[in-house]
Symmetry: C2
Subunit: 167 residues, 2 copies
């Protein structure tokens, strides 16, 4: 597996599993029927953003991440990021490898911390991964996410400093 | 003073003081030199958003607020809002009146709660106002805002439920 910066032509490898994850509606606040063009702009077109892919030896995209400033200007030294792993490639450590890569790149780019604004509290695998990488839950916004299967559940705000080893 | 929904032609009354507040750089994560066209889109053009103005008897705009979903889709039942009061009209209760109006409208529109993601911790007047209106500080993201006069200060995440009286 190789992790590298995405190119424009990686989108065709990202969209099939990104669409599947968004359509499930359990982990992202995106409309489940988000169009391909909207999805491409949201994932690949954020101001000041970078996009990464994890690819296998045949060049197939197994996962993707995007890194961008959490706020503009006076808040732009705090990073935000999003991660999508192909469900068919789950359990192979791709999320952890992508996360480590993006944390390194974010620190290298000068971000002082990374913040997630909306980690669905039922997304146990993601939360465990982030905690193992040094993220803390700063707060939980109760009833902030309308899950198609569980109703209203909370959204965690998670955070870790960069340029320091995970606590 | 009258508070009403903004019309497109209110922008010319909003921009002079909005520009002044953004240029000061102490309360919003916007580039201090934000162009008028970018500012208009950010304030007036949010997806699913509404804009309000407080005007005096002569029709001059003294303050403005914008109300929009904090997240799309599965998070769209939580509101976010922004407030700008003309510095020349400070101390007249315009912020409090606008805030009360927007909270009422947000509840009427079906939002279940209101969340602020980035209240600068040195903005004592705003924080006191929000707390008096029932908002709680859910968390403070340390060193998340680069103040031109104070350096790195924290950003509060504030929240209150709607459709209930302030606690």
């Amino acid at each position: 597996m190789l992790i590298r910066d995405a190119r424009g032509d990686d989108w065709s490898g990202i969209w099939p599993f990104l669409r599947e994850i968004v359509a499930a509606g359990e982990t992202y606040c995106w409309p489940p029927d988000t169009s391909e063009e909207d999805a491409r702009v949201w994932w690949m077109g954020k101001a000041g953003g970078r996009v990464f892919v994890a690819v296998d030896e045949a060049g197939s995209v197994l996962g993707t991440a995007e890194l961008h400033p959490n706020q503009p200007a006076a808040g732009s030294h705090i990073a935000n990021a999003g991660f999508m792993i192909a469900p068919s490639a789950a359990g192979r450590g791709i999320g952890r490898a992508l996360a480590a890569h993006v944390l390194d790149e974010a620190a290298h780019d000068g971000y002082r911390a990374m913040q997630f604004n909306a980690v669905v509290e039922t997304n146990a695998g993601a939360i465990a991964l982030w905690q193992s990488l040094g993220f803390r839950i700063l707060a939980t916004v109760s009833e902030a996410f309308d899950s198609p299967t569980r109703g209203l559940v909370g959204l965690h705000i998670m955070h870790r400093m960069l340029g320091r080893s995970p606590s």
